[in-house]
């Protein structure tokens, strides 16, 4: 039996009232061993901040989520997951992007800047051009990492089919 799916709809501009604290911006506490702050800005095709986006990170250790502020900024505290070198998989976080004006969630990945060898062998990154790859590899930022999300434009982030 295969049931037909329920279609996606936009999260809309006012989702913040509906997000309970069940899942928040801290997958681990700031002081936990290996805690890493991932921050960034969501930008539209005109380079303007997206102040009503919802960013979610997923990994075996837990999920995090954060609504962007009025300047499009988000921050999630988590730990770096382990990769699977045998399967050609560098450490990464799966990311969902929801926003007003986004009808179906966008899926992308955060890779880590201190994993050059693993990133070079990653079977997803290897299918991309250097410019495309650079949209998925975070940059070091004050002890954490920075990952900006460009929905459109010259530096458009690579998004994946779910």
């Amino acid at each position: 039996m295969t049931l037909p799916l329920t279609p996606s709809q936009t999260v809309g501009p006012l989702f913040a009232i509906g997000l309970s604290t069940t899942i928040g911006s801290h997958v681990v506490d700031e002081g936990a061993p290996g805690a890493l702050r991932i921050s960034g800005q969501v930008l539209d095709g005109a380079g303007e901040p997206v102040p009503d986006a919802l960013i979610e990170t997923w990994q075996a250790e837990g999920a995090g989520r954060c609504a962007t502020d009025d300047q499009g900024h988000f921050a999630i505290v988590t730990i770096k997951p382990v990769g699977n070198a045998g399967a050609g998989e560098a450490p990464h976080l799966d990311v969902s992007v929801f926003a007003r004006g986004v009808l179906t969630r966008l899926v992308t990945r955060v890779y880590f800047p201190d994993e050059a060898d693993a990133n070079g062998a990653d079977r997803v990154l290897r299918t991309l051009t250097p410019d495309e790859r650079s949209t998925l590899i975070a940059t070091p930022d004050h002890g954490g990492i920075r990952f900006d999300i460009h929905l459109q434009g010259e530096r458009e982030t690579v998004f994946f089919d779910r």
Binding site: M1, T2, L3, P4, L5, T6, P7, S8, Q9, T10, V11, G12, L14, F15, A16, I17, G18, L19, S20, T22, I23, D44, G45, A46, E48, E56, W58, Q59, A60, E61, G62, A63, N84, A87, G88, E89, D94, S96, A99, R100, G101, V102, L103, T104, R105, L106, V107, R123, V124, T127, L128, L151, Q152, E156, T157, V158, F159, F160, D161, R162
Partner: protein, 231 residues
């Protein structure tokens, strides 16, 4: 629509103006092979309040509006129930206004209605919310644009591939024809799956109207991490 038509709306959908600067222009990349089902123990230890599913009992008084219940099951494509999935809902009040600072629609706020609820699905994937029917409200997408009455639903299960945020609508809404968000779903049959069914069975005599709405999420074809190269 031909078989195999996409269920989900395209992000490039000009009738919905907000997509113009937010829809990626590059095609979505297909991940090479199925890598992993990503599961996170996201609800470990979390407690949901006994009344979190009842939006009519969050304040001292009762909210104004037409009292309704919305219930159904959350299933995967194979028909398996999703047990322990977190459902979160948010909606406008009966006058069509959200309890959100950014909502400028000059309709009254209701001090007895916050418009948010949550619950976990039970072992059979069942959920139930008690609320009031949300009002329609205007927005600025096109001249004299109005959103049909709807409730926002978020489904959070432990599998990344099953993540879904959507909206539930009410049967017979005259505003469907002019709503680009509803009509962004390309397949008319799929669109109708966003519309709840009024149920006499779920309607409580002299108390509340009952609506039934099942949610089906994808992602069950994903297999655990494996190396699909030659052994």
């Amino acid at each position: 629509m031909p078989a195999g038509s996409p269920v989900h709306p395209p992000n490039d959908f000009p009738e919905y103006g907000s997509t113009a600067l937010r829809a990626p222009k590059q095609p979505l990349r297909v991940l090479p092979g199925r890598l992993a089902v990503l599961t996170a123990p996201l609800l470990a230890g979390e407690t949901i309040g006994a009344l979190d599913h009842d939006l009519t009992r969050q304040h001292d008084g009762e909210p104004l509006g037409e009292r309704i219940s919305i219930s159904g099951r959350v299933l995967d494509e194979e028909g398996n129930p999703l047990a322990g999935a977190l459902l979160e809902v948010w909606q406008a009040n009966a006058a069509g206004r959200y309890a959100h600072v950014s909502d400028q629609h000059p309709a009254p706020l209701d001090p007895n209605f916050s418009g948010t609820g949550r619950c976990l699905t039970d072992a059979d994937g069942r959920y139930r919310f008690v609320t009031i029917k949300p009002g329609a409200y205007p927005w600025r997408n096109h001249p004299n644009a109005w959103r049909p009455q709807h409730v926002h639903f978020s489904v959070f299960s432990p599998a990344f591939t099953q993540r879904l945020i959507t909206q539930m609508y009410f049967p017979g809404d005259p505003l469907f024809a002019q709503d680009p968000i509803f009509n962004s779903v390309p397949d008319p049959a799929a669109r109708q799956r966003l519309v709840a069914r009024w149920s006499l069975e779920l309607t409580e005599p002299e108390w509340s109207l009952g609506y039934e709405w099942d949610i089906v999420v994808g992602g069950t074809d994903a297999t655990p991490l494996h190396d699909d190269g030659p052994e």
